[in-house]
Amino acid sequence: MTKQRFILLALLVGVLAFLAAGCGGDDDEAADTGGTTEGGGGEAVSGNISVLAVWTGAEGESFQAVLDGFKEENPDVTVSYKSAAEPATVLSTAVEGGNPPDIAALPQPGFMTDFAQRGALKPIDFAEDKIKEGFSDSWLDLGTVDGKLYGLFFKGANKSTVWYNAAAFEDAGVEPPADWDAFLEAGDTLKASGVTPYSIGGADGWTLTDLFENIYLRSAGPEKYDQLTKHEIPWTDPSVNEALTEMGKVLQSGNIAGGTSSALQTDFPTSVTQVFADPPKAAQVLEGDFVGGVIADETTAEPDTGFNVYAFPEINDSGPVVMGGGDVMVMFKDNPAARALIEYLATPEAAEIWAAKGGFSSPNKNVDTSVYPDELTKKTASELANAEVFRFDMSDLMPGAFGSDALFTLLQDFLKTPDDVEAIQKKLETAAASAFKSS
């Protein structure tokens, strides 16, 4: 064989070997995490544990500060934090490969149920008493799969809030309403004063599902809410009719900024900023606690004098009810260091570290609300923690084909024809039936 051909063959072999290696994956470093020395207790644990969550940037730094607090209490434990934009996807692969992190934060409880049913999660019932001290039953139920506690909700989001232009309310002589009738009446007064009452980000379907969920949770009650979430009652149920009828009162073209067709093109950030423009295009926007961040980043409105927030009004004496979201901490590997971290994250002290830095609401009711950096966060966060009833955003718990698709587009259709409640109910039921069947 000549030199030239040898080189060619060698190159070919090299390429093949390279490709083959690419398929192999790196399974060498599977088993060096979770090493422990002394067992049990809660004192003097040691080892290396890994944590995976979605938080990056400022949020990542805040969470790192929380982990640093753990390190202070447990100097022998090394915690390595990694962020991933799509934790569920990364974790699926990691679980398949037998190398998940010790602890991860999941953005939706659906993922937790999935992993638990696949046997990938370890129950955290050792911390149950500690969690019960700080969290209401709603949060414990959400963290439970098949009777076992798997999840601790470390970070929460309160979506039962209404943000308003304080000057517009003052000009119209309107006070933040406490119940639904007062809310609709305030809308009429605002309209008479020359400001459109509501701003709707109808280009994004989820703003409409959030509005529906808030109304439904209050008008139909949490039991029906759970049943509808699991599609145990149909969307043609009278309770859905009642909620959609109330929602239709808000969505009348004359009540929403720019009228129906403009609202359908308004995305969520614009639906917030136009409330605080000069002159305002609308008096209030019905969305969750994250609206505060958009106002702070994209408008010049000042808290109290420029913008303010009130709790989504009660319907039929529904009491302090909150609809929202949250990130749930789950444990993939059972070892003393991981247990210690779960127990630590359940304490108010851990939550307070992040709470003080802002952009965070803790579902833990023992968290000292004075640590929140401003009054409005304090208000929305304590409503979240002290809610008698908390329900997770329904659309996140349903099959994607319905919860993040058909429900969006059909509620957008409802925004076009807010008086045609029954037709929309029928379409919702058809779409839900097929989505729940095929999932």
């Binding site: 070919l12 002589g173 008479a192 020359g194 994004d204 720019g258 067709s261 993040s404 957008q412 095929s438």
Partner: protein, 448 residues
């Protein structure tokens, strides 16, 4: 590089050349070693995914059950997919032809203008922007609210020049006594006689539109032989009592008030003072209607609903043509430059008009180039996805969707319906095949 070359170099008397069987193997090995890596990559990245997608399309969304052609059936029954099929047909029928035509027109015209290079660059420029960014730009341009969308802002400026002027743009009556609309004006239900006082309360007036010189509204005294009244903003903080002129409520100066006779014809009109009062002197005895004239209200410009369900597809098509026209122009211009001048000259000498030269000589000679542009555009249109995602707001995505868009939507936007998604992908591949065959044939014809 071949084995014979090696053989020639062998000095005489040394070992005989290798046996023929071995040399045939070696001869095959060499091209294989060159092609091997490419073939392997082609297989891993093209052939395998294609076959796997086709196979996957026969399973249900979770991949657990073999469902034969159920997913394909959905393509032809699902409402959203039917819209997508219809849109795809519209895109293929309209857009490639439009792009080719616009490109041809630009190419021919730029041959004759002075600043042709500058013109060409500006038409070509959009091609340098990523399609997604193009979509973001047009999404903003198309916004319905004239305060946000550039196109509607332009239209609003034109309409502002010619439209009706008025002091207010919107208002509604504060009580049931007034009826009507902005277009017809608001008329007081009861009739008024000379000596009577008319109260015209309006609400829902936008705060910035309250005239600057407005002062506290006053209920005027009756006037002997005349009709007086007040038109005011019947609203104060908290609402106030509708129909009553209260402290803190402002007059609406500049509002036109009409005096109508019992037949409804306007016989006189006047404008309100700063405190909202107005008066009609020396009115003959009889029953009269008092109304807020429609000329009070500037015709509000709502903006064209470009992103609504009716116009969304044409709007996206326009953005696409805007991008691709530059590509078509440059290719066509290159083709144009290579047309033999003497043929054109000969035709002109024979007395052909410019149009005849264009129609009978330029176009036929350009046909191969135009076909390239056309086929490229069809392929571009069939796989169109990013412009739709970035231009259509969520509320009209279904109306704007094409097959490629629905394929992404059902598979990757959180729905995870991979069975249906694979079926759509396979279906798009089938649609592509005729155009691929045309292209390959043309390529062969060119090389032979």
């Amino acid at each position: 590089m071949s084995s014979t070359g090696v053989g020639v170099e062998l000095p005489a008397g040394e070992a005989p050349p290798p046996p023929p069987r071995d040399s045939a193997f070696r001869r095959a090995l060499l091209p294989l070693s060159f092609l091997g890596p490419a073939l392997l990559l082609l297989f891993v990245w093209v052939v395998y995914p294609m076959v796997a997608t086709m196979w996957r399309s026969l399973f249900n969304d979770r991949g657990t059950e073999f469902v034969w052609l159920d997913n394909y059936e959905q393509i032809f029954t699902d409402e959203r997919l039917q819209t997508a099929l219809k849109n795809n047909a519209l895109w293929v029928l309209i857009v490639p032809a439009a792009v080719t035509a616009v490109g041809l027109v630009f190419a021919v015209l730029t041959e004759r203008i002075v600043w042709s290079t500058a013109f060409k660059i500006s038409v070509f420029m959009p091609l340098a922007i990523s399609l997604f960014a193009v979509g973001v730009i047009w999404r903003i341009m198309y916004q319905q609210d004239p305060d946000r969308g550039a196109i509607n802002a332009g239209l609003a400026a034109i309409q502002g020049q010619f439209g009706a002027e008025g002091v207010l743009s919107q208002a509604s009556p504060s009580t049931d006594d007034l009826t009507g609309s902005i277009e017809q004006g608001f008329e007081l239900d009861r009739t008024v006689q000379p000596g009577g006082v008319a109260l015209l309360g309006l609400t829902a007036i936008r705060v910035p539109e309250i005239p600057e010189d407005a002062v506290q509204a006053v209920k005027p005294e009756p006037l002997q032989g005349g009709i007086t009244g007040v038109v005011w903003r019947d609203f104060k903080a908290g609402g106030g009592t509708p129909g009553e002129v209260e402290q803190g409520e402002l007059g609406l100066p500049g509002v036109t008030v009409e005096l109508r006779d019992s037949a409804g014809d306007t016989i006189d009109e006047t404008k309100a003072e700063t405190n909202g009062t107005f008066a009609f002197d020396q009115v003959e005895d009889g029953e009269y209607h008092i109304a807020v004239a429609s000329t009070t209200f500037a015709e509000p410009f709502e903006g064209v609903n470009w992103l609504g369900d009716k116009l969304i597809t044409p709007a996206i098509m326009f953005a696409f043509i805007w991008v691709q026209a530059g590509f078509a122009m440059v290719i066509t211009a290159a083709g144009l430059a290579s047309i033999p001048r003497d043929t054109l000259e000969a035709a002109r000498t024979d007395g052909a008009s410019e149009w005849q030269v264009f129609r009978r000589i330029t176009i036929p000679l350009l046909a191969p180039v135009l076909t390239v542009v056309f086929v490229t555009q069809i392929i571009g249109v069939l796989k169109l996805f990013d412009l739709i995602l970035s231009i259509a707001p969520g509320s009209t995505q279904d109306e704007a969707a094409t097959l490629a868009f629905v394929q992404w939507q059902v598979s990757f936007s959180g729905q995870n319906r991979f069975g249906l998604g694979s079926a759509i992908a396979t279906f798009i591949l089938i649609l592509f095949i005729p155009f691929l065959i045309v292209n390959v044939r043309r390529f062969r014809a060119d090389t032979s």
